[in-house]
């Protein structure tokens, strides 16, 4: 028996095939760090409207090599360009780093649920991250600063391996010079003239000026770091439903059809990558789920 067709689900024709990639052209490349680079993308011709929610990701395809999920890291108000910051770790990201201005990159998205932009009004906002984890949070910082008067204190806690590994240095300098955003940096290993904090980023939570009863915390980093971050936030008295974390899983489709990103009953590509901690704490604490 044939399936029932409704106009919304009528496959070929009316709905674009979500598996098809759209080639975009690299307009500019920023070599952020030794292994990290930002690609600024635009369509080869015509208009662009890359609206997205901070925290969402795209599937990026390197011609003939493969496709990987990468968060959108640009300013959501600048809808004419698409910005992705990627760290080279393996096959696809290595090939991506070799691309030049003028080359094409395939894009599908934006996918997933982003940071809780609708929950932060009148709240203090704590952004806690390390390394490349700053990339998925940068759109959120832009978003907050564009509407600065709507929020209480904004506290950014950022950790890097060494002072040389600090991402978005220029942005951080700009943000630190503002009186309405507090940025605290720390490094695992001090080098050269570093006179700032040394130690893990989660240890900054204890001394940060925010109101635990009226804040939203957004955490992005390796799972082990997020575990400690949650513990520190809980110690400060932040309730579980005020903590948001961004999860990473293997992803082959980005749209709930390949199965790979399953995390318990959820699909990270659709139900995440950003989760409210209260919703997944039972799953999050289980090993090899």
């Amino acid at each position: 028996m044939a399936t029932q067709q409704t106009s919304k689900h009528s496959g070929t024709g009316t709905q674009p095939d979500p598996m098809l990639v759209r080639p975009l052209q690299i307009q500019r490349i920023i070599r952020d760090l030794g292994d990290t680079f930002s690609l600024i993308l635009q369509p080869p011709d015509g208009e662009a409207d890359f609206s997205f929610q901070p925290g969402q990701f795209n599937m990026l395809y390197v011609y003939g090599v493969g496709e990987v999920p990468i968060s959108i890291s640009g300013d959501p108000a600048r809808r004419e360009i698409l910005v992705h910051t990627t760290r080279e770790v393996g096959t696809v990201t290595r090939a991506m780093r070799k691309l030049k201005v003028g080359d094409s990159l395939g894009v599908r998205g934006p996918y997933g649920k982003g940071w809780p932009v609708d929950k932060v009004e009148n709240q203090d906002v704590v952004l806690l991250t390390g390394g490349i984890g700053l990339a998925p949070l940068r759109p959120m910082i832009h978003y907050l600063l564009t509407r600065r008067e709507k929020y209480g204190r904004i506290v950014l806690l950022y950790g890097a391996r060494t002072p040389e590994d600090i991402l978005y240095r220029k942005d951080l300098e700009k943000w630190r010079s503002r009186f309405d955003l507090e940025a605290h940096l720390t490094v695992d290993h001090a080098t050269g003239a570093w006179r700032g904090n040394v130690g893990v980023v989660t240890s900054l939570v204890r001394r940060s000026p925010f109101d635990p009863q009226n804040c939203i915390a957004m955490v992005c980093g390796p799972e082990i770091m997020m575990r400690f971050a949650v513990m520190e936030l809980q110690k400060r008295g932040v309730a579980d439903d005020r903590i948001y974390i961004s999860m990473e899983r293997n992803m082959k489709c980005g749209i709930g059809l390949c199965g790979h990103c399953q995390l318990g009953p959820t699909f990270v590509c659709k139900d995440g990558p950003v989760y409210c901690y209260a919703d997944i704490k039972d799953i999050f604490t289980k090993r090899e789920m």
């Binding site: 493969g66 899983r249 082959k252 390949c258 789920m289």
Partner: protein, 376 residues
């Protein structure tokens, strides 16, 4: 258990000697026929043309880790219970080209393949397999994103279901409430009756297309005794199943057993071969494979079936999420019986029993579920 009955209207009788007319009518309507046949000592679903390609008189014997075909005295067409592989490979092929791309200056152009417009008639779909089809409809064409490739193939399908009068050795559809009689999702449902010197089919149309097809067949009205005899067989089949899963409570019960030591005991036997996921009619996981030809001028993306039993399946930079076999077996079983419910509002297991039959070490999902949830 509720009594199984056949509807008293629209049901007709097709004699075995006229069975080819059903195949011909489907062919004339433009359908490619896919049905059961014997290959490599197993029942498989393949392209067929004529009734003599059916597994005439062959019966399958299924046990945990064992499968055997034996000849029966009766010359049934559907005397076996179930194909070794499910129908899903026709609608969600094991390898499937999603698109191609060609170089274009510095960039590339993406070319969508021609839509698949083949009309397929699936002949001999069991009730549990209908349930599996309904599950894939939900997964691939009723969510936020529609799988075009599935949808294209699915919309042109004609389903000839066959009710089960002989449950296989590993079946448990009755307890999963998916069989043994087909209740929806078919165009025609057959009950094969092979008694003393009579061999005929009770034919139940389940759709307009099914009714239209019946009009082309040399059928007659059934006698009351014929209907009664068929009903008796169906009820006997339902009662004959020995394996069960408490489908109503299993999700909740199993969900509390994440840390149970019994998972380790299963993992000691499990080879993580992935057979169970390959024969499962509802598994849908895939991997993507991107490649280029030697010139680099042409690229393509292939989608291939994947299995959560592989280590790579959950790989992220730094290592896999599910390294132990324990965690991978648990993912499989919890996905089928627990998480599927939350994801799609239905069970991911339909009770076909294939994973039990084709497990090289005979791991039995019904038995493991029982062990995990038994309360002393």
């Amino acid at each position: 258990m509720t009594e199984i009955t056949l509807p008293d209207k629209h049901v007709v009788v097709l004699e075995r000697k006229n069975f080819q007319s059903l195949l011909d009518a489907l062919s004339e309507s433009g359908y490619e026929l896919l049905g059961p046949t014997v290959r490599d000592s197993a029942i498989v679903y393949e392209r067929i043309h004529a009734v003599d390609e059916f597994p005439v008189g062959w019966v399958d014997e299924c046990e945990p880790g064992k499968y055997r075909l034996v000849k029966d005295k009766k010359k049934t067409l559907f005397g076996y219970t179930i194909g070794s592989q499910s129908w899903r490979r026709f609608l969600h092929p094991p390898t499937n080209k999603l698109w191609e791309a060609t170089r274009d200056g510095n960039g590339f152009k993406v070319i969508q393949p021609e839509p698949d417009q083949i009309k397929r008639a699936l002949i001999g779909v069991r009730s549990c397999e209908l349930a599996a089809l309904a599950i894939h409809d939900k997964v691939f064409s009723q969510g936020q994103y529609i799988d075009n490739s599935y949808q294209e193939r699915r919309r042109n399908v004609f389903v000839v279901a066959v009710n089960c009068v002989r449950p296989g050795g590993t079946c448990f559809c009755a307890s999963m409430k998916t069989g043994p009689k087909a209740t929806s999702g078919f165009d025609l449902a057959l009950t094969e009756m092979c008694v003393s010197n009579r061999h005929y089919f009770i034919v139940e149309p389940g759709s307009k297309a099914g009714k239209k097809l019946v009009d082309k067949l040399p059928v007659k009205q059934p006698k009351e005794s014929e209907i009664k005899a068929a009903q008796k067989e169906l009820n006997r089949a339902a009662a004959g199943m020995t394996r069960t899963i408490d489908s109503e409570h299993i999700g909740k019960l199993l969900n509390e057993k994440f840390d149970d030591p019994h998972w380790e005991a299963i993992a000691e036997r499990c080879l993580a071969c992935g057979n169970c996921t390959m024969v499962c009619p509802t598994c849908f996981c895939t991997n993507m494979q991107d490649s280029t030809d030697l010139t680099g001028q042409h690229a393509q993306r292939q989608r291939r079936w994947d299995s959560c039993f592989t280590v790579d399946y959950s790989y992220i930079y730094g290592g896999s999420i599910r390294n132990s076999v324990t965690s991978r077996y648990r993912q499989w079983m919890m996905h089928k019986l627990v998480h599927w419910q939350e994801q799609f509002g239905m069970s991911g297991c339909v009770g076909c029993g294939r994973c039990i039959t084709w497990c090289p070490v005979g791991i039995d999902i019904t038995e493991e579920a029982r062990q995990l949830t038994v309360t002393e």
